[in-house]
């Protein structure tokens, strides 16, 4: 986040999100979708498909991707890139897992 200072914010614990599932963290500006993969890795993206702004948090999570519920675009969780042949990118949000707690780099000054 260019020029901005973010802080790590504790938004909950790993088990608050079902495996192969997603939960939303709201901020005043936008919603963030936080994903948990089948092998318990955590990713976070803006909850907005690059195609028609579908809520990615409502999609089906598989491997390291999520399929948008509106038109089935497949978005890679690690970098937010749409899978071929679609083109587009959802913004990622830095996320960390520490002692079972989920920390997001949002907020701050």
């Amino acid at each position: 986040m260019d020029g901005q200072i973010s802080v790590w914010t504790d938004v909950g614990q790993l088990d608050d999100i079902p495996r192969l599932g997603s939960r939303v963290v709201t901020t005043p500006a936008f919603d963030i979708a936080v994903f948990r993969t089948g092998d318990d890795r955590i990713f976070a993206l803006h909850d907005r498909c690059p195609h028609k702004a579908g809520k990615l948090s409502q999609g089906i999570v598989h491997d390291e991707s999520v399929t948008c519920p509106l038109h089935n675009w497949v978005i890679r969780l690690s970098d937010g890139l749409a899978k071929d042949p679609d083109e587009g990118c959802s913004r990622t949000v830095p996320v960390r897992l520490r002692n079972g707690r989920i920390l997001l780099a949002v907020g701050g000054t």
Partner: protein, 812 residues
């Protein structure tokens, strides 16, 4: 050449079963015009494959599919069939046979193929209604009917027949217990280790097994109620199947004064003590031995035909027989002497974790017996070694691993003899498959399946059938599967996946992916919902719905809209509402400031623009007014559209509204491969547009016309007529059976219209017109509904899946 002799000899066959009819076929191939043939059969049908009664009971096959000789076969061959009349007596002096209704026929040659009767143990209570054997289609129908209205079954006898009966009853939802008097199951075919594995497999299928069970009394007032064992155990029983063995049916022969021991005694030429009378099949006693398996009966039929037509002086010699259990998913084979003695050696292979056990018995470098359990794909190869008595000393060290390992082993199916069995479930030989490929010009696996039934049950022999196709067609065979894969994660098609779920009893999505070979770790958005549906359909009440494999609408129980809000449609039974419901809906709209209210095409009201976090509250308020989820978001029963019908309309002939409500009350909550819509019109003017619905009902003066496979979407398709019925109960029975057939057979995301175009309306119509099959489908549907009819809105309003509707956190 004079083809027809001036006066043809008269041949009469008593017993229209597998052995007798096979003997006729053998005779007809040798001397097509020599005899004027009459067949007496006690059952009112043509001939059917009695071995396949078990799959009929298990719901895997229809009676039609196991009919081998329909009435037309007799006509085509100029054979007189007297079906439904058992023979009452033989007059050997006059050479006549007389039926129970007085029909008399003269014979020059008489064939007895009277078969066998189940041994009914004369326990107290054995004559009570509900105590039956397992020998013919009537027994199967009794069992299917019992499974519909009753819940407890007891099978006496843990042999081949008893276990197949138990499996069938359990598959029909009955709580089934097998009582076996010996310490281990199938002791005549299995060694104790395999029998133990079998017992565990049956228990995992929900069948209870009691060994060393000494049955004492069958209790019951007007029909069977319970079975009591010698140790005092009481088992509730609505039906008792006696499968404690068979006894040759010799009554007729004995009364005619033919020499009988335990069976009708025959010489090596299948001739009885009267030179004009031959006998074949299970009624026969040959050199003191009795017969219960099909292979020796077919051998006897050949000898008999040689003798009757005087084409050869051949003799019947007893041969080794092999046995398989026709329980889909249980792979087992046994042949020859599998016990052995001090002059034999055993080779044993065991992999307990995979449930595989193989025992080979060897004497003087010859294989004399084998038991294969859990992995019997090489049974034909072993069976050949046993029958041919080949010297196995050179391959002894790898014998137990089968032909693909040993250097001297046969390379593949092309090396097998024509008699080698390829499909164990259906008893189809290599020769039969090759003949069908040649005769009917078959080029694909599905065609072979449809024509021969090979590989159509459990699928373990699919590779062999494909190899045979490749062998028969040479370069013309294209092995690329013509099936559409479920998705890009696999090359397997929908049918094969469902078959694997059923046969291997797979109960979780990861288990299916492992068993069928998925290339991705957890599938994708296409296959996961499909697998979730297939598991839900196969294991009702047992499989736990995986919400992570549900498309958002089915997970949220509302329709996501383009702005991320949802729409809510409560159920309006048959399109009927009331001022009370409308007021409650209006209050909900005001309270939650729902922006749009729209009347849908399915005669309901749609509330659009509800925010995710509002959903549980909206539902709670609608629930409070008695309204439940309309499943407008699901691959599920959507709506049953109706017209006002005879209650108000001057043209109406029946109460279509009440019919629609009854249909909706029965079918709501069911998950289907794709959305399912119904409609009921009260007269042929068809105001409810029932002929473009998945299931449409149109009232007539005399009853109801049932229509199937309509669609009003992108590609409009008018329904096909499914049946005409008279009562409301019949409408409901057909509807339930049709829903279940669609649920079990269509691919995920396949509407009824393309499904019916794929399988053909005739196939659907034929199966639903079979009362036994229709009832068993209905039974499975209602059983599934027992677990499906809970309102998902009520559950979520009460807190289920609360995390779906709330943000994880809010960051300022």
């Amino acid at each position: 050449m004079n083809m027809i002799s001036p006066r043809r000899s008269r041949l009469v066959l008593v017993g229209n079963g597998m052995a007798g009819v096979r003997a006729l076929e053998e005779i007809l191939t040798r001397a097509p015009h020599e005899f004027a043939i009459t067949v007496f059969g006690a059952e009112p049908f043509g001939n059917y494959n009695r071995i396949m009664l078990s799959p009929v009971l298990a719901g895997e096959k229809t009676f039609e599919a196991i009919t081998t000789h329909p009435r037309s076969w007799y006509e085509e061959n100029g054979i007189e069939l007297i079906a439904g009349e058992a023979v009452a007596g033989i007059d050997r002096a006059a050479k006549t046979v007389t039926g129970g209704q007085g029909t008399t026929r003269r014979y020059d040659v008489l064939l007895l193929a009277t078969g066998s009767n189940p041994v009914i143990i004369p326990l107290p209570g054995h004559k009570l209604p509900g105590v039956i054997g397992f020998r013919d289609i009537a027994d199967v129908e009794t069992m299917l009917a019992a499974s519909k209205s009753h819940s407890h079954a007891v099978v006496i006898g843990g042999g081949l027949l008893g276990l197949e009966a138990a499996n069938g009853l359990a598959r029909n939802g009955m709580d089934t217990t097998v009582l076996h008097i010996m310490p281990t199951l199938m002791e005549r075919q299995l060694d104790p280790v395999s029998a133990g594995l079998l017992k565990a497999d049956l228990i995992s299928r929900g069948i209870k097994v009691v060994t060393e069970a000494n049955t004492k009394i069958i209790h019951g007032e007007h029909r069977v109620e319970a079975v009591e064992l010698a140790d005092g155990t009481h088992l509730p029983a609505d039906i008792v199947v006696m499968a404690a063995g068979i006894r040759p049916n010799v009554a007729l022969a004995k009364e005619a004064g033919l020499a009988c021991g335990r069976g009708v005694q025959v010489d090596d030429g299948m001739r009885t003590s009267d030179p004009a009378i031959f006998a074949v099949g299970e009624c026969v006693e040959h050199r003191g031995a009795l017969f219960g398996l099909v292979a020796p009966l077919y051998d006897m039929a050949k000898i008999l035909a040689d003798r009757v037509t005087r084409t050869a002086e051949s003799d019947y010699l007893p041969s080794v027989t092999g046995t398989r259990l026709k329980v889909t998913g249980i792979d087992m084979f046994s042949a020859g002497d599998f016990t052995g003695d001090e002059t034999t050696d055993d080779i044993v292979f065991r992999d307990a974790a995979r449930g595989v056990h193989k025992k080979l018995v060897i004497r003087d470098d010859r294989l004399i017996g084998a038991v294969l359990y859990g992995e019997a794909s090489d049974s034909a190869w072993y069976f050949d070694h046993i029958r041919n008595g080949t010297d196995i000393s050179a391959i002894r060290d790898t014998l137990v691993f089968g032909p693909s390992v040993g250097g001297a082993g046969t390379p593949g199916v092309e090396a097998l003899p024509d008699t080698a069995e390829i499909c164990g479930c259906n008893g189809i030989s290599k020769g039969a498959i090759l003949a069908a490929i040649g005769k009917h010009k078959l080029t694909t696996l599905d065609e072979v399946r449809a024509r021969t039934k090979a590989s159509a049950s459990c699928g373990t022999c699919t590779c062999k059938v494909e190899s045979l196709l490749a062998y028969a067609l040479g370069g013309a065979y294209d092995a690329t599967p013509k099936v559409k894969a479920v998705c890009k994660c696999t090359t397997t098609g929908h049918d094969a996946v469902r078959q694997a779920i059923r046969a291997q009893r797979l109960k979780t999505i990861p288990a299916v992916m492992r068993a069928v070979g998925w290339t991705t770790p957890d599938g994708c958005a296409s296959c996961r919902p499909a697998l979730n549906y297939y598991l839900l359909c196969e294991w009702p009440g047992e499989y736990i719905d995986d919400s992570r494999s549900r498309f958002v609408n089915e997970r949220m129980h509302a329709n996501i809209q383009k702005d991320g809000t949802y729409s809510v449609i409560p159920r309006m039974w048959g399109g009927v509402t009331s001022s009370f419901e409308l007021r409650a809906i209006a209050d909900v709209v005001d309270r939650y400031q729902i922006p749009t209210v729209k009347v849908t095409g399915g005669q309901r009201i749609d509330l659009l623009g509800v925010r995710k976090e509002q959903l549980p509250d909206v539902w709670r308020d609608l629930n409070a007014a008695g309204m439940v989820s309309g499943h407008a978001y699901g691959k599920a029963l959507r709506t049953v559209k109706t017209c006002v019908g005879s209650e108000w309309c001057r043209f109406g002939t029946q109460d279509s509204t009440a019919m629609g409500i009854a249909l909706e009350k029965m079918t709501w909550g069911s998950w289907t491969p794709h959305k399912t819509k119904m409609a009921v019109s009260g007269c042929p003017r068809n105001c409810a547009e029932a002929t473009i619905k998945d299931f449409g009902v149109v009232a007539t003066e005399s009853g109801w016309d049932l229509h199937a496979g309509g669609n009003g979407g992108i590609k409009v398709r008018v329904t096909d007529l499914l049946a005409k019925v008279t009562t409301e109960d019949e409408v409901l029975e057909y509807a339930a059976a049709y829903m279940q057939l669609y649920r079990e057979e269509a691919w995920y995301l396949e509407r009824t219209a393309p499904w019916i175009e794929r399988v053909g309306i005739d196939s659907v119509r034929t199966r639903l017109s079979d009362p036994a099959l229709r009832k068993s489908l209905q039974h499975r549907f209602m059983e599934s509904q027992r677990h499906a009819q809970t309102d998902p809105w009520e559950q979520r309003a009460a807190g289920v899946d609360a995390h779906e509707f709330r943000a994880l956190a809010a960051v300022e």
